[in-house]
C-alpha cells in the first residue's frame, strides 16, 4: 500500500538528556532493555574483544549523556540482515549494540572482531565497526567507523584513504597492554582531536 508521496524526510531532533529509561535502561528503570552493550552470544564465533573509551566535547569535558550505537559484520564479514545475501539465517549474532555513557563519559562494548567486508567495487575493506553518536546538544547523530590498530589491511582500506592522513588515527582503536583483547577508542565531538565523521 502506498501513501501519498511525502515532501521529504522527517527531520532529526536531539535524543535529549532523558533517553536512558527508554533506550538504554540497563536495569536502572522499570523497563526492559531491548539492546545492550554485549553483542556476544553463546554461538558467536570469532575473536572476543572489548572496545572502551570516553566521549568528549569541544572543551575536552566528558559527555555523560551520550548514546552510542554500533553495527558490524560477524567474524566472516557477513551482516545479520537479509539484505546481505550471504548472511546465515538464524544466527544469534545480531551485530548491533547500544549504550549510554556514564558520569565520566565512559562506555564499553563487548563484541567480536568483525571480518572484512567488500566495498562497492569488490575491494576488501579493513575490519571496521560502524558507529552512530547521539547526545543532548546533537540535533542529528554523527556517523563514524572504528578500525583496529595493527591491521595490515588498514593501509589499503578505501575509506581510510579518503581521510586526511593526520586525522586517520582518530578512527583507529588502540590495543591496550595485557592479555585480553581490549581496544581504546575515544570520541571527540569537536576540536583539534575531533573524531572523523562521515557524510553518509
Amino acid at each position: 500500500m502506498q501513501q501519498p508521496k511525502p515532501d521529504g524526510v522527517t527531520p532529526s531532533q536531539t535524543v535529549g538528556p532523558y533517553f536512558a529509561y527508554g533506550l538504554t535502561s540497563n536495569g536502572k528503570y522499570d523497563w526492559n532493555d531491548a539492546f545492550t552493550n554485549n553483542l556476544v552470544t553463546a554461538d558467536t564465533s570469532g575473536e572476543r574483544i572489548r572496545i572502551e573509551g570516553q566521549v568528549f566535547d569541544g572543551d575536552g569535558a566528558v559527555v555523560p549523556d551520550c548514546m552510542l550505537e554500533i553495527w558490524q559484520a560477524d567474524a566472516q564479514g557477513r551482516f545479520s540482515d537479509p539484505q546481505d545475501k550471504r548472511a546465515l539465517p538464524n544466527t544469534s549474532f545480531k551485530g548491533f549494540g547500544r549504550i549510554g555513557t556514564d558520569a565520566k563519559g565512559g562506555y564499553a562494548f563487548d563484541t567480536i572482531k568483525p571480518g572484512q567486508v567488500a566495498d562497492p567495487d569488490g575491494k576488501p575493506q579493513a575490519p571496521h565497526i560502524m558507529l552512530a553518536v547521539f547526545a543532548r546538544g546533537m540535533l542529528l547523530h554523527n556517523y563514524s567507523r572504528i578500525y583496529f590498530d595493527g591491521e595490515a589491511a588498514n593501509a589499503s582500506d578505501p575509506v581510510l584513504a579518503l581521510v586526511p592522513a593526520d586525522r586517520r588515527a582518530t578512527l583507529i582503536a588502540t590495543r591496550q597492554p595485557g592479555g585480553n583483547a581490549v581496544y581504546r577508542f575515544d570520541i571527540h565531538l569537536q576540536g583539534d582531536k575531533e573524531t572523523v565523521f562521515f557524510d553518509v
Binding site: T14, D81, M130, M138, Q190, V200
Partner: protein, 233 residues
C-alpha cells in the same frame, strides 16, 4: 532489494551547529564531514522484530498498577520511505514526559510530580504496511535551562531503525497549534517551514475513539528510495 540513500535527503535535517540551542556549540563538529560511497556496512542495518516487542509495549497506559493521570491519546501512523512506501516490520521506540511535563529520568529536576503509573517508554513494530500505533498520555510542556523562561513544546521522542544503518532516525513529534513553537530553538533548528511541519502530528478525528481517547496521526518518513537498484546505477 537494495535501496539507495541520496545524501540530498539530509538537507531537511537541522544544521548540527544551531547556536540558539546552546548545547550544540561545543558538541557539533568543527571539521568538515568526509563524503564517501555507501558500502554494505552502510546499506545494511539491524533487524529487530517480534522478539524485541512484548505484547503490551505499545500501550503506555497499562504498564503500572493502575492508569496514569492525564489525557489518554492514540498516536499512530506509517513509517514510510521518501516515495511513500511503507517500511515494514521496523522497530519504533518512544519515550516522553508525563502529563505534568516530568520525565522519570533521575536527572530531571523539574518540580512537577512523577506519576507512579507512568514510565513513559514504549515500543512497537510496524506491520507489513509500515503502520504503527501507540496508546499513551499527552505529555506536558516542561522548562529547560537554555535561556530565560525557556519551555519545550509538548513532544514525544521517537527512535526508528528503517532499512539500513544510514536510515536511522531519532526525532520528536509535536502537537498541532502549540503556542510554544515560535520560541523553541530545538523545533526551529529545522530551518525549512515545510520540513518543520513534518514533525507536527495531525489531529485525527476519524480515528478518535468516542468516549475514550483523542487520536493524532504522525507519519515518519525515512531516507531511501526503492526505485533504483544499485546495480543499474
Amino acid at each position: 532489494m537494495t535501496l539507495v540513500y541520496p545524501v540530498q535527503s539530509l538537507a531537511a535535517h537541522p544544521p548540527r551547529l544551531s547556536p540558539a540551542y546552546k548545547s550544540t556549540v561545543k558538541r557539533s563538529p568543527s571539521k568538515p564531514l568526509i563524503p564517501m560511497r555507501h558500502t554494505l556496512s552502510e546499506l545494511t542495518g539491524p533487524v529487530y522484530g517480534h522478539e524485541t516487542v512484548r505484547e503490551n509495549d505499545h500501550d503506555l497506559t497499562i504498564q503500572g498498577k493502575s492508569e496514569p493521570l492525564g489525557e489518554r491519546i492514540i498516536v499512530h501512523g506509517h513509517v514510510l520511505d521518501e516515495d511513500g512506501r511503507g517500511v515494514p516490520n521496523t522497530l519504533v521506540e518512544l519515550w516522553q514526559a508525563n502529563a505534568c511535563g516530568r520525565y522519570v529520568h533521575v536527572v530531571d529536576q523539574h518540580p512537577a510530580p512523577l506519576d507512579p503509573n507512568f514510565t513513559g517508554a514504549g515500543r512497537a513494530q510496524s506491520d507489513a504496511q509500515g503502520y504503527y500505533r501507540f496508546v499513551t498520555i499527552k505529555p506536558g510542556a516542561y522548562p529547560w535551562g537554555n535561556h530565560h523562561n525557556a519551555w519545550r513544546p509538548a513532544h514525544i521522542h521517537f527512535s526508528v531503525f528503517g532499512h539500513s544503518f544510514v536510515s536511522r532516525l531519532v526525532t520528536q513529534m509535536y502537537f498541532p497549534g502549540d503556542p510554544l513553537f515560535p520560541f523553541d530553538p530545538i523545533f526551529n533548528s529545522v530551518t525549512d517551514e515545510k520540513a518543520r511541519n513534518r514533525m507536527i502530528s495531525a489531529f485525527d478525528l476519524e480515528n478518535t475513539k468516542p468516549d475514550w481517547a483523542l487520536c493524532y496521526r504522525f507519519n515518519i518518513v525515512l531516507r531511501g528510495r526503492n526505485a533504483t537498484p544499485m546495480e543499474k546505477k
